[in-house]
């Protein structure tokens, strides 16, 4: 479970161009949720997703991950939180270019110290679920955008994190691939019980999530 209490975040703090990016955000996200942060560009949904994902620091308030406060941790401790509890899917896929699809999917598991046998088994399982099991030996540059994004999802989900944070995961995909990816993520949510949090403008995501948190000008207007 993730809990946010009175979270505030500023950009360019103390400067004339200061922006109050997150305003008194208080929110609870239960395990297994399939949630979308929605709102117009610049409303703070990506900033909120980054704060929840321990990617960015906050200026005030508290963020709890399973009752452990993570908002004020050091960079190194936040890296450990990201490694052990989070999975990330970015707009630009961000796969390791010199590693094969199989190695990319197993990358986080490797970082977390899983055995080679465990990694192999899980990679096959996830790749098969995401229909990229015939591409395991390929390098990322040999894949289409949709296939690369599936590999990114597979990498995020392989180590069984509690939360997957996906920031505009379909922004670089055509509608067919977006729909396919979304269906797969919903299946993962249902089968694996992993919580998935999106920040997106994609209508198809809007239609398929179970919870929508609407934001405007850095504040939650409807949770």
């Amino acid at each position: 479970m993730i809990q946010l209490q009175n979270v505030n975040k500023y950009f360019y703090k103390g400067e004339p161009r200061e922006v109050h990016a997150l305003i008194d955000i208080t929110l609870t996200i239960q395990d297994g949720e399939f949630t979308l942060f929605s709102g117009p560009s610049g409303c703070g949904k990506t900033t909120l997703l980054n704060a929840i994902g321990a990617l960015d620091s906050i200026d005030s308030g508290e963020i709890y991950l399973d009752e452990k406060e993570i908002g004020s941790l050091s960079e190194d401790a936040r890296t450990s939180i990201r490694l052990n509890a989070m999975g990330f899917v970015f707009q630009a896929y961000n796969l390791v270019p010199v590693l094969s699809v199989e190695e990319n999917i197993g990358f986080i598991m490797k970082l977390r110290g899983f055995s080679d046998a465990q990694i192999k088994q899980r990679v096959l399982e996830v790749a098969s679920m995401l229909e990229i099991d015939n591409k395991l030996s390929s390098l990322p540059h040999a894949l289409s955008g949709g296939q690369q994004q599936r590999v990114a999802v597979a990498r995020a989900v392989a180590a069984k994190p509690k939360f997957i944070l996906a920031d505009e995961p379909t922004a670089n995909l055509d509608s067919k691939n977006s729909k396919a990816l979304m269906d797969m993520m919903r299946e993962l949510n249902e089968k694996e019980g992993v919580s998935i949090l999106f920040a997106s403008h994609d209508d198809y995501i809007h239609e398929n999530v179970r919870r929508i948190i609407k934001m405007n000008d850095g504040a939650i207007v409807d949770a």
């Binding site: 890296t79 390791v96 970082l111």
Partner: protein, 403 residues
Amino acid sequence: MFKLLVKMAWKNSFLRLSRTLLVIMMIGVSMSMMLGIQGLYDGMTVNMIDKNKRSDSGDISIYAKEYRIEKDLKHTIKNAAQIKEQLQKREGIEAVVLRLRAEGLASTARKSTFTTINAIDLAEEESFGKFSAFLKEGELDLDKRGALVGIELAKTLKIRIGSKVIFSTQDVSGEINSIALKVTGIVQTTNIVLDKSAIFVQSKKLYTFLGVGADEATQIAIKSHDEKLYASLKETYPNLDVKSFLELQPMMKMMQEMMRIFNSITFFIVMSVVFIGILGVMYVSVLDRIREFGIMLGIGMHYKYIRLQIFLEALFVGFIGYASGAILGIILLVYLRDYGLDLSAFADAMQSFGYETTVHGTIKFSYFSTTFLAIMSASVLSVLIPLRKIKTLKPIEVIKAEK
């Protein structure tokens, strides 16, 4: 994890193939040149030292106490033959020769100059220092009035094979005597002193001419690689002047030191080039992939793994550069050792400094081990600056910049 990091580092090292190959080539070529120069410098010194030992001082020489201050025939070692016998029985001594040397004047019909006449036994000198290798012209014939003359002395006196030379000196009783000699050979020892002033004659003849007793000698030269021998001889013969090679030839020590400094300077320059080369390629490589590293940090890869990966990348580049340099270096050094570098265009200058005109290189394991350590260290040091870039990198900045 380590295996995966090694794989990533290896593949990333060759991500920009031409850039990496250029750096490897730069390391390889500069390293092999450095090895060649080191081998030649050392070869020149080793060769010079070797010839000085063989032609004159050996590893250790023994004189009468006063001889080196006043080179007079009254300061001979009186029981030299007996000492020689004792020394030959000692372990660790490879060869011993007795020499009698006297200073005097050598004259031809038109020229005269200061010389030293040396009584030698050709057979003994051959086993002591392969004397025959010094012969440049003529033959090793000391029978009758035959004499061998140093190459520079021959030039000074303008003499050739078959020329007549009169050598005058004071004998042991103080009388001035002269002896007529016929030049049968010209020798080049590359020992400047001998080449400029030495005449070599048959031992028995000079002993008779100078009136010196058969048991006496001015010098006992010893060939030995036993490092403890010097101290032991000093203890055994406290009434004699026991000198090591470097004590007798301080110039050689200075030359060794000079060559060491030259080598160090060359080494430093080449290692700086290697350091800058690897630093350049690693810095650009890290900057090229800064987004990738930011994302890796973002998805939970700890900085220590990224650091290890970059260290490995630099070590791979350094090691391949080293390996190519070592291969090229061995080829160059073997060539220089076997065929040498012909510097006969500078023959006069080389000979006046006691060098041979063809310089042969040496090969030492230390060239390769020291260079290996230096290149690996340069590789490790070269990534410290690029690593600072990553250490201060915040993944969120990369992720934001992407959007």
